[in-house]
Amino acid sequence: MRGKWNGKLYRLERLLGLGSNGQVYLATSGHRTTFAVKIGHEAAELQGEANILASLDHSQKNRPPFLLDVDDAIVNGTNVPFYVMRYVPGIPVKAYLRQNGSHWLGVVGYRLLERLTLLHEAGWVFGDIKSDNVLIGEYGRVELVDFGGASAIGRSVRQFTEIYDRGYWSAGSRTADPAYDHFAVALLWLHALDGKRLIQLTKTLLPQNRHPRELMRLVQSNPLLKPLEVWMEKALAGKFETTREASGEWRSLVRISQAPKSPSDRIPGWMAGMLGAAIVLSVTVAAVWLLQ
């Protein structure tokens, strides 16, 4: 596929995913560099996404750019708009936690909040947070994909997934603000760690009874989420002033939950044994010395 404006040549290797408004392919160009190429149907819609990526690149100059090219190609006689991004290898967060264990939640959750902090400070809200859009790479590295749902702070949320939506749970408006994303992150963890009960809840609850307190009931009765109860409650109630605050609180709660439970856990058995032996030995030596 050759871009008709900028003339770059891309070789599409395989389909990475299907979005709501296009397909994403893994592509190579020239000397084995890999990219992700998003091909759409509607030039204006695709350009809207590219605009968001460009504006993020613009506001975060300290990292390599994410958006690399915007162009059209002629495929089988029709005009096909596309844009090219940095390729981010990774798997959806839900699958990652299932494969690698839920003890990765601390790092992954922290990384996600740090990523969102950058986004929010640049004036954007991600909006459509869900497992498929949060990719985890090596050692819990987080990257957000599909910026089609990102909205400028203060505007209306452009795209969302029903069960992650604050409005659906009667917990606030659909105006894009950082707290909208905090709410969706809380739902992401509920969905990832207690998916069955969450889906069951959405099926049985009458619309007028949808409320964050129903979600908190799930949190309180889940051993993995219970230690994060304070954080979840704040996120669901929109109580975090900034994402930096949310991230800091997450970190400290995870640290507390990782701390050993009782004093006896703190000192491994062999160490206690050695100490005992050392005391007995020194007392014996002292006794022998005194008796002499």
């Binding site: 404006w5 030039a43 204006a44 809207g48 915007v70 505007r155 209306s156 659909r174």
Partner: protein, 252 residues
């Protein structure tokens, strides 16, 4: 920008053709979208063809969904229609000013600028959506889902920067002579649209066409104004206005 959203579960059986009514609405600058709701697969070929035809004549989109998917569908159709109308208007301007076919024919850097303006317009243009609900007997079990979809749509519209308002109608009316009844006049407050359909007596006929025409008249008369009465007790007494009075208001 003005839209009518028709929520129905089957074919019309009284009065003029809803396809013609939708075509008239479109001629007056009102886009007509149709959501067909089925839960047990009984919409029939006649019903589904008519639903698609009404939307096509009304310059809008149609989709046939289960009542579970209704909120999402109503949401998406409203947003897509706004985006679509703006795209259409922008493309027309581009053709006249620069002789290019559409936004996609501009080189990417220029396209980026135009798209920014288009998205601004999508967010800030004033939007009026009249919901027309089929309340014939077969729709009864689906009315809760309809009410939920209306609440959900209002919530989304409230978040827009531009002025947004909805009004709600159902058909058939309570007596032989009213084709449709207004449940809520223009409002932008979700809380004002409470339990809407409590007092509806379900009847058998489905006068989709005449009801559609009555809503077109209502929009023509109240265009741009928010009526004082949020919940009208009496059925809407509509007089047919001169169709030339109302013009498309999405001129860029």
């Amino acid at each position: 920008m003005k839209q009518i959203l028709l929520i129905t579960d089957g074919g019309s059986n009284v009065g003029e053709s809803p396809v013609i009514a939708a075509a008239q609405a479109y001629a007056e600058g009102i886009t007509v979208n149709v959501a067909g709701v089925i839960d047990d697969g009984t919409i029939g070929e006649y019903g589904s063809v008519e639903i698609a035809e009404i939307a096509r004549a009304g310059g809008g989109i149609s989709q046939i969904v289960t009542s579970r998917q209704l909120s999402r569908t109503v949401q998406m159709m409203t947003r897509q229609t706004v985006a679509g109308s703006i795209r259409q208007a922008v493309n027309q301007e581009l053709r006249q000013l620069f002789g290019v076919d559409n936004v996609g024919s501009l080189p990417p850097p220029k396209r980026a600028e135009v798209v920014k303006v288009m998205e601004d317009m999508e967010e800030t243009i004033s939007l009026s959506v009249a919901l027309l609900i089929d309340a014939s007997a077969s729709m009864k079990p689906k009315l809760h889902a309809v009410e939920e979809a209306i609440r959900d749509l209002t919530l989304s519209l409230q978040a827009r920067t531009g002025k947004s308002q909805v009004s709600v109608f159902h058909f058939p009316g309570d007596s032989q002579h009213d084709y449709c009844v207004m449940d809520a006049g223009w409002t932008s407050n979700a809380a004002k649209i409470g339990s809407l359909f409590g007092r509806i007596r379900m009847r058998g006929t489905t006068p989709t066409g005449p009801a559609l025409m009555q809503v077109v008249d209502f929009i023509g008369e109240t265009c741009g104004k928010i009526s004082k009465t949020e919940l009208a007790e009496a059925p809407l007494q509509a007089t047919r206005g001169d169709p030339n009075e109302v013009r498309s208001d999405y001129v860029v």
